[in-house]
């Protein structure tokens, strides 16, 4: 079992338990674990809603690294190309740097590409 380091940045305006606003935290995530679940297990309460890769509440921007989204219910090739991840169903394939709380940005990206859900 390979374990990866996932550095999660939190934008200033978001209040996430386990990370100072504007700060970052690093969690360890096994290759078979979802990023969201691993982060929450380690005290970092990232936002989420459906936890099935459908609603985009858990969206993050991928600053560096690769993830697998095979289990997502609604995730498109253009999402990956634009550097968005759904942390609730994404498993790491490398060490990662993510910027959390990207739901609005991902929805705007979806709207620009004629995909659901939109803002």
């Amino acid at each position: 079992m390979t374990t990866y380091s996932v550095e999660i940045e939190v934008p200033d305006e978001h209040d996430i338990e386990g990370v100072d606003p504007g700060g970052s935290v690093t969690v360890e995530v096994d290759e078979s674990e979802y990023v969201l679940a691993a982060a929450r297990d380690q005290g970092v309460w990232l936002p989420a809603f459906c936890q099935q890769g459908w609603c985009t509440t858990c969206a993050a921007e991928v600053l560096d690294g690769d993830l697998d989204h095979s289990d997502a219910k609604r995730y498109y090739a253009v999402d990956a190309q634009a550097g968005f991840a759904l942390t609730c169903v994404a498993t790491p394939r490398s060490d990662l740097r993510l910027r959390a709380c990207a739901e609005i940005a991902m929805k705007e990206h979806r709207e620009a590409n004629g995909l659901q859900p939109t803002p």
Partner: protein, 218 residues
Amino acid sequence: MSDDKPHAGGSIEPGDTSQRVGVTTLEERGLDVDELIDKLKAAAGAEFTTYYYYTNLRMHLAGHEDYKEITEDARLEDRAHFELVAPRIYELGGALPNDIREFANGASCPDAELPVPYEGDIPDTEDLTAEDTLEVLLEAERCAIRTWNEICDMTEGKDRRTFDMAQRILQEEIEHEAWFVELLSMERDGEINPAGHFVRGEPGEAPYSTNRRINDSA
């Protein structure tokens, strides 16, 4: 403001109907009401689409009258959840989308589709099993549990009315999950995992979440 009546005053002018104390008091407590409205619309969308999809799933449990009956309870209770949430969205100053497609696309849970390919308008049910259908039902309930827990987290200690509503819906979603765990365990694995599905007073009674009984004409 009178010392004797500390809640008699406030920042809203008497007779002003453009604002609601029921909203401003939530904002005073640090709740992002716009975010809550968005989440409630998404959750209401999930309840409504679930009601639709469960109608189709239930019809395709042909020959499994016991499964049909339990699915019917879950189906009608999810409708009751939608009807409970919708007025709350308006109380908070929000509104349901005019376009049902927008409403469904914004649902917080995946479509609980019949797990078979379609040929045009007709499902190819040749390989459809009760096990497959029960798994779809189970995962839909699990999504609902997650979403209502999140809404409980958002509102706890800040918005007592929404918290109470979300908590009561959550109670029923947890029961629904237990029902489908029991059915799928036996159907797929031959395992006994009792849920205690006691018959409701009538189908769809929604014992926790119904504020007012749906009358016979509804």
